[in-house]
Structures are given as C-alpha cells and as structure tokens.
Symmetry: C2
Subunit: 190 residues, 2 copies
C-alpha cells in the first residue's frame, strides 16, 4: 500500500541492526486517520470472508485492530500478556518469545470470549519473526475457532516470519514488507 | 450515561470484594460500536476545549482512546508500561502502583511525542484508586503540556480516586460511577 510505504520512507527512522521505528504515527503517537485508511484496505482484501471477530495482542496492535473491528462491524478480542488477578480460570494460553523484551511471554485469552465457529481475522501493527502470530494461531486452534487470515501493517520480510506463515497456507496480507533498512534508505518488497 | 449503566447492569459480573468485570464488552472482548457511542459523549462534554491529543495507558484503555481520538480528529498517545529495547532516551517517566498486578510499574512516554503547548485529554476505560491517572498527569506536567480533562468510562466511586482528582480542580467526566457492587446488584452514583 503506497500510502503506508510513503509514511515509512518519510517518517520512519532506521536504527542499527535493520530496526525501523515508526512510533511517530503507528505505535506510540498514533495517527488514527491513517489507521482508518489501512483498515479500509484490509476490509477490501478480506471482504468475501465471513469474519466474526478481530484478534490482536496487547498493546501496540490494539489501535489498528480497534479501527479494523469497527470498519468490519465485528468485536475486537485482544490477547493479554500476563495473568492479572482479575481473570478467572478457563483460559487459552500460548507461550511465545518476545524479542522486543528478550523474554518469554504467555499470551492468554479467556475461553468465555472465543468459541468454536468463530471466524477470526488477526490484525497487528508489526511482524518480524512472527512469534506473536504463532501464539495467536495456537490460541485460535485451542478454541476450535477458524483462522480466516492475518493482516499486518508493517512486515519485516527479511526476518522470515511472514514467509513461514505463507508456507503454511495462511492468507497473510501485509501492507508494507520491508526487505532492507540501512542509512541509505528503506527497500520494500515489490 | 444510561446506555453504559445498562450494559454494566445486564452484562457485568460482580466478584467478591466489590470487583465488577465488564470484559465481555469493554476490556477483553470489546464492543467497538459501544466505544463510538461513549466517544461521542466525551466529545460533547469537552467540545469547547481545544484538544491537541488524547492520552491513555496501555493496554485496556487503548480501544476507547483510539475511537475517541478519531472522533475528535486528534492523534492518540499511549504511555507504555516498561522499557523495551526499541525506545531510546528522552523519556518522561512516572512510577505508579498497579493494584491489578500488585506491583510498581513505570509509565513512560517519549519526549519526542509530547510537547509544551499540547492540550491533553486523558481517556481510560476504568478508574479505581486513580494511580494510572496520577502517573499520566505527572508525565503531562513534566512535558510542560496542559491537562484539559479526564474522561473515564467506568469509575469505581467508592475507591476514592476520582474524587481526589476532582478536589484538585481537574475536569473529570466519568460515564458511570459505581458506588457499590454486591450479589444484590450494582448501585451507581446519581
């Protein structure tokens, strides 16, 4: 999606180690009107599928997933990252490695809110090695729900997580796939 | 706001210790169309104030704050709860007590995204003792920005956090204030 690639090229910051920061419009100070445009793009791509809920992981994927849920007229379910005292039993759980925080994290979703027969579209702002996606797909399988597809704003293609999901036959739609990020600029996959 | 009180009365669950769970529509499986209605109510209340950004804390306040930001046509800034490796220096910080997780948590906002002259409306889904609010207000003060007001969906009035903020002269607008939650039902402040 050219609109998003332009924002990344103009406002993204490249840090050593192929890290691209887009926290000025996507995941710290958030341009919600951009999220609406991205959500319309996801809605168009997945328009022929019956989706019953959007799922994401707290925290930075929630703004985009919220606007997507409204755009598609379905509820939003977000997986939490630790067990708070206010969540009773009956949980679906999935352990993943968080490379952002360099530690293992358990994703949880209450069994009250995800059911067999649910048709789930996963939405997230960023994907690198795909650990969060692997965790969410595992939770959807535990619930006996159906994964319709995955929509990602920014995929770091060179880290391979996206291609692994595509090899599994999952309909993964990323709006911008970064292949290289250096001082000389950001290269996107065509 | 009667719409929200009705949802709490009909779908909220009361747990021992005056705990009210509304995770079926507000903060785990989220009814985004309800959030739009709440956001219109906040927009009406704060309509005469010039707001330059909405602020909230990750994670459960983000869906409501996102819809509010779109409703008011301003960006969303969300404070994060720990230091990830991807956030450089230049942070505003505020330490709070999280009673949900029973530990101290440091809220952080990058100094890149909050400036003197910003007029901030804080939005959150829940308020009990008001620790998260105290932390956000501290961050806004550090930045030299202006606090326009606070909008809360569900305030637990009997825990006193809201009244403490009102005593400081802050324009705190809560859409439902719970005074008591027992097996016999939920009582709201008039």
């Amino acid at each position: 999606m050219q609109l998003l690639k332009d924002r990344i090229s103009h406002e993204g910051k490249v840090l050593p180690g192929n890290i691209v920061k887009v926290d000025g419009f996507l995941n710290h100070r958030v341009d919600v009107s951009l999220l609406r445009a991205l959500s319309k793009e996801f809605a168009a791509h997945f328009r022929d599928r019956e989706i019953s809920a959007i799922m994401t992981v707290e925290a930075s994927g929630i703004p985009l997933a919220t606007i997507c849920a409204e755009e598609m007229g379905v509820p939003l379910i977000f997986a939490k990252k630790a067990k708070s005292d206010n969540i009773e039993g009956g949980l679906f759980k999935s352990e993943i490695m968080s490379y952002t925080y360099n530690k293992k994290v358990t994703l949880i979703v209450s069994a009250e809110w995800l059911h067999p027969g649910d048709k789930i579209l996963i939405i997230d702002d960023f994907m690198a090695r795909g650990e969060a996606m692997r965790g969410l797909v595992g939770i959807i399988e535990q619930a006996g729900a159906e994964l319709v597809g995955i929509g990602i704003a920014v995929e770091k293609g060179f880290q391979g997580g996206g291609d692994k999901l595509r090899e599994r036959g999952i309909d993964l739609y990323s709006l911008a796939i970064i292949e290289e990020a250096t001082d000389e600029g950001i290269k996107f996959r065509e």
